[in-house]
């Protein structure tokens, strides 16, 4: 099924203090079912914007092009409908939700998605059992379930919480926005293990990063180079290595 995620000529802009700023300028990308792709690019190339536009953040205005997922017009869907359809965005720095109990949040999300997919909701006992299994696997303490979502979480705890959500919601397509996550190896490893554990012929992922390092843990099927709001080059996993050694210059020049 070649048109699992298909993006054509996507254009998007953001309102920067009253003046619109174009960020995506005609982006084309396809990620087939069962494959993991990576997007690399310099700062400001529009990588994070792409992940937000795909997940449905309304600060961004889509001004052209299309994005379909499983044959549906992704851009016409509400964020929660995209989640129900199987799209999952792992945030680079997830927002804190003071006052929202983590366990309650997880259960609400899981049951909302299950309901939308026509599956039976989990009762408190079944849910707790499912969560316990995952938290044990992720070496998370029960305490994290009792706290407010992401509030006072360390960097590693936040990543674990994102992966926990990913495992519970069982997406068919995950977007990992790791654009600026720097050199926190533990955090990268947690995310990588989370993704790798979901690898199957029915699961795809888009890994957004500008460090080759993450791709040592999640080996992609294809790597795309992004600059100025477009994909300017695509190739095998070896591109990442080239980038690490030589930087983006040669790709930028080739595209110019």
């Amino acid at each position: 099924m070649s048109d699992f995620l298909k993006i054509q000529g996507l254009q998007a802009r953001i309102d920067a203090d009253g003046t619109p700023k174009d960020i995506l300028k005609g982006l084309d990308l396809e990620v087939p079912k069962g494959e993991i792709h990576a997007i690399m690019g310099p700062n400001g190339s529009g990588k994070s914007t792409l992940s937000y536009v795909l997940a449905g953040r309304d600060d961004y205005e889509v001004t052209g092009g299309s994005a379909t997922f499983k044959g549906q017009d992704l851009l016409a869907l509400e964020p929660e409908e995209r989640a129900a359809l199987g799209l999952f965005l792992a945030f680079q720095s997830p927002v804190e939700l003071p006052g929202v109990n983590n366990a309650n949040f997880l259960r609400t999300a899981v049951n909302a998605v299950r309901r939308a997919r026509g599956e039976a909701e989990l009762d408190a006992v079944a849910f707790l059992k499912a969560v316990r299994a995952e938290t044990k696997h992720l070496s998370m303490s029960d305490d994290m379930l009792k706290r407010a979502v992401n509030v006072g979480f360390s960097g590693g705890e936040k990543k674990r919480n994102e992966v926990l959500q990913m495992r519970l919601l069982q997406p068919s397509f995950a977007i990992l926005d790791e654009t600026d996550s720097g050199l926190d190896i533990d955090a990268l490893r947690i995310v990588a293990e989370g993704v790798n554990s979901l690898r199957s012929p029915d699961f795809s992922a888009l890994v957004i990063t500008h460090h080759q390092r993450l791709l040592d843990y999640i080996v992609p099927d294809r790597v795309h180079v992004m600059a100025h709001g477009r994909i300017i080059h695509s190739g095998g996993p070896d591109i990442a290595k080239t980038l690490e050694k030589q930087g983006y210059t040669q790709f930028l020049e080739a595209a110019a």
Binding site: G56, E78, G99, V100, T108, A109, A112, V113, A116, L169
Partner: protein
Amino acid sequence: MTQNAAPALEAFVARAAGHGAALAETGLPTRRVEAWRYTPLRSIADTAWQKPAPLTAETTTALLDRLVLPETGARVVYGNGQFMDALSALPEVVRQASENVSPLKGLFSATLNTALGERGLDVRVPAGTDAGLLTLVSLSDGQDVSTHLQHRIVLEDGASLTLYDISTGEGRYIANPRFDIVVGKGATLRHVKVQRESLTGTHLAIVSADVAEKGEYDSFTLNQGSGLARHEAVVTLGAPHAMAHVNGVQIVDGQRLNDLTSMIHHAAPDGSSRQTVKTVLSDAGQGVFQGKILVDRVAQKTDGYQMNQALLLSEKAQINSKPELEIYADDVKCSHGATVGALDDEQLFYLRSRGIAEADARDMLVRAFLIDALDLVSDEGLRDLLLRSMTS
């Protein structure tokens, strides 16, 4: 400055017989009176409010049925200002208080109550006794009527009581209750109040609490009804190490106006006060918060903290907030914070990206906004009741 010619005032003064002089002099405050700048009393000025007829058994049952009430503890019911014997039982340990309490000068709700006062709850909890939970239900029903209950609650040294104070009604009326509270040395009064008056009702409550050494007045007010409601608390920490909590939640929708006004007076050293007030506004609701912390020269080492936050959920909603510090002692730690704003878009998006529908996500965030005020209610059972009340 005042609406002295108002029919309401004339009727009140006539009803007060010999006790209306102070009221006649003060009159009904207009918005030019600083304490009432955000809460206009125009809506009550043109009515000659009368004493209501006794509540019928049928109405009583109907009104009681809509309330979420604790299943344990003692319960006292007042209907249209009258004690309802058949429905009431006091905790066994309490006695009659019968203290005379000093009148609160210059506060309209108190002046009105003083002029027209009707005898209300009158209890004294003996030293060292825990009187448990007492539920006070105040019901109103009628057209153009008003009630002015005077409640006195005295906790002797080391005594404790949890008062669940809930009011509702039907029709167009004014409920103007007053609580004169004395908290003895090391005593604790937990005062949890739920105001669910009718949309055409007016609620003007005044609480005066004097707290002795190491005593604690721990209050929480849920303002969730009434076309116009002000809950006003004056708490005096008159001896060392006294403590006050004056917390609250206001949920205001429709065309309603809810107001929480408080004055925490630190009149002795080493006192502490905590206040968290949250207001959620939708439709054309108006919220008012006025909170003053007054620290006398003698009240060294006072520790005062106040936080008030408002969440605006609609274009027509409005909040007016006036947190105030008046401080005459130098060795104190006093601070307040205030925020006003809408729901956070980023938080909303996060929840939705996890598959939660927008309306549910909003509800979750509103509840989260309220939770740290609600969490301050120490009695778990009452906290659950409040949650149920808030969502019903």
